[in-house]
């Protein structure tokens, strides 16, 4: 196993969740989900990725409302959402908590219930992020998965409860338990998150990084050293 960056591992975890999808849209400030989506696109060239905030060659010609109109019609099947807080009922909060103000809900209130495969992504896995109950519900919905810097959870729609599927290298089941503020189930197939293969790392660096650099220059410079 060669060496890889944490961001590359997370992009691989995300790419593995995209099988069978036709069209992912990427919203504000989501370089790791964008990296995962472009990685998946290397394996499935028919998979379409639309970056909402692309500075040049933006995919939308009706302005930023087109994303929401596409989603409303079912023309987008994957979207990524984060949260200053995410709770055990999969609600997300992008507005305020403990007297602190965050940027705001963006399009989440709409995209979360409307897009069929929403992946929750937040790199920080801590008690202040993963809470029992959010202070403000920006959006509620049924996610396909929750990916953090420590673990991958699936969502059990019937039980309205997360299930821990795997922990990433460097973490452990105990570490995840200690740093998660809500209750969750444990998958019967629970194990370690597979590390990126040599081939995945090569594709990320050779093929994906130039695409990411256009829209997330600071991120690309940090992860791939320019």
């Amino acid at each position: 196993m060669g060496s890889y960056a944490k961001e590359e591992l997370l992009a691989c975890v995300i790419a593995r969740l995209l099988g069978g999808a036709r069209h992912a849209a990427i919203g504000a400030s989501s370089p790791i989900p964008a990296t995962g989506a472009f990685l998946h696109r290397q394996a499935d060239p028919a998979f379409c990725v639309s970056l909402q905030q692309r500075r040049e060659t933006n995919p939308f010609t009706e302005g930023s409302r087109e994303l929401f109109d596409l989603a409303g019609q079912g023309r987008i099947d994957v979207f990524f959402l984060g949260g200053a807080q995410i709770d055990g009922a999969a609600n997300i909060n992008l507005v305020q908590a403990d007297g602190k103000r965050f940027p705001g809900s963006f399009g989440s209130a709409y995209m979360y219930p409307v897009v069929p495969r929403v992946i929750l992504f937040r790199e920080e896995h801590s008690l202040r992020v993963l809470v029992k109950k959010v202070d403000f519900v920006s959006a509620r919905g049924n996610p396909a998965a929750l990916v953090t810097g420590k673990a991958l959870f699936s969502w059990q729609r019937d039980r309205r409860c997360f299930r821990l599927e795997s922990v990433h290298p460097g973490s452990s089941a105990e570490d995840v338990r200690t740093n998660t503020g809500f209750d969750y189930d444990l998958s019967s197939s629970f194990g370690a998150t597979p590390e990126p293969t040599r081939e995945e790392v090569r594709i990320l660096r050779e093929k994906v990084s130039p695409q990411i650099k256009r829209d997330y220059p600071e991120f690309a410079a940090r992860v791939w050293k320019g």
Binding site: S29, G63, G104, Y110
Partner: protein
């Protein structure tokens, strides 16, 4: 509601636009990625505008943070305020946390829809999906009907943005940034700065016309080369990321923000647009 029938005024410079935006106006602004008239934003700060009510179409960034930090803003309706990769918008964040401005939280499609309602001349427009969000609880101007939320029409007093071109007829070209067309259609007055003047009438050019907002909607234009700086104009110049990052650092404190204003906004013509 009768609207002024516009004959586009050719204004001398961005300062004239800032003088045409009265204190207290409901001012619609685009996000950082969509042609922001930054030179007018700076001119508003120089003319000490007060009590502006900002509308983010559908989110806001640097322009709002500057106006809020400079004390020009009483109220903001938006889906978010953020500096993107450069992080939180520090003056906005502090102003909300200290209760210095009023915030009406929305979500992107609600703002787009509210402007489309005004385009169509209807008081409400239905939106599905969002009824589970706490946003709806805080909005007594929205009505919930089963799974639909009826979003109230918004008519901004003024739409303000930047364009690649203006022509002799007073049309402006914004290319694929069509949310700017929606906001121009919905606003009482629209003021636009532009990079370059085009001779003739762009509506007579089949290739340019689809990216045009007709002079019918345009109240006034002013020439402002590199007028979106430090933000970008697609195909002409990119975002000055280094500068935006510098701003994000400086504006973390009131003192740093004051020094930023002194250097980049208040000092007349201190090269605001490095090559």
């Amino acid at each position: 509601m009768s609207l002024p029938s516009n004959k586009t005024e050719f204004l001398e410079n961005p300062e004239r636009i800032a003088e045409s935006i009265p204190d207290g106006a409901l001012l619609a602004l685009p996000p950082d990625y969509s042609l922001v008239a930054m030179e007018v934003v700076r001119a508003l700060i120089r003319r000490k505008a007060k009590n502006l009510r900002l509308l983010g179409v559908p989110i806001l960034g640097l322009s709002a943070d500057l106006l809020i930090g400079a004390g020009c803003v009483a109220e903001v309706e938006t889906s978010a305020v953020s500096l993107g990769e450069a992080g939180l918008a520090p003056r906005f964040t502090e102003a909300v946390e200290k209760n210095l401005i009023k915030i009406k939280d929305a979500t992107c499609p609600a703002i787009h829809s509210a402007l489309q309602a005004t385009e169509k001349g209807v008081p409400y427009i239905p939106l599905r999906g969002i009824s589970g969000s706490d946003l709806v609880k805080n909005r007594n101007d929205w009505k919930v009907q089963d799974d639909l939320v009826l979003v109230a029409a918004i008519q901004p007093d003024i739409a303000l943005f930047h364009a690649r071109w203006a022509d002799e007829a007073g049309n402006v070209w914004v290319g694929r940034r069509r949310e700017l067309a929606t906001v121009a259609h919905a606003s009482r007055l629209t003021f636009v700065t532009f990079e370059e003047k085009k001779p003739g009438d762009m509506l007579e050019d089949e290739l340019l016309a689809p990216g045009v907002i007709s002079s019918l909607y345009v109240s006034g234009v002013a020439h402002a080369p590199r007028g979106a700086w430090p933000l970008g104009v697609a195909g002409v110049y990119g975002v000055d990321d280094t500068h935006v990052t510098q701003y994000a650092k400086a504006a973390k404190t009131a003192e740093g923000f004051r020094r930023y204003l002194e250097e980049w906004v208040l000092t007349p013509r201190k090269s605001f647009s490095p090559a």
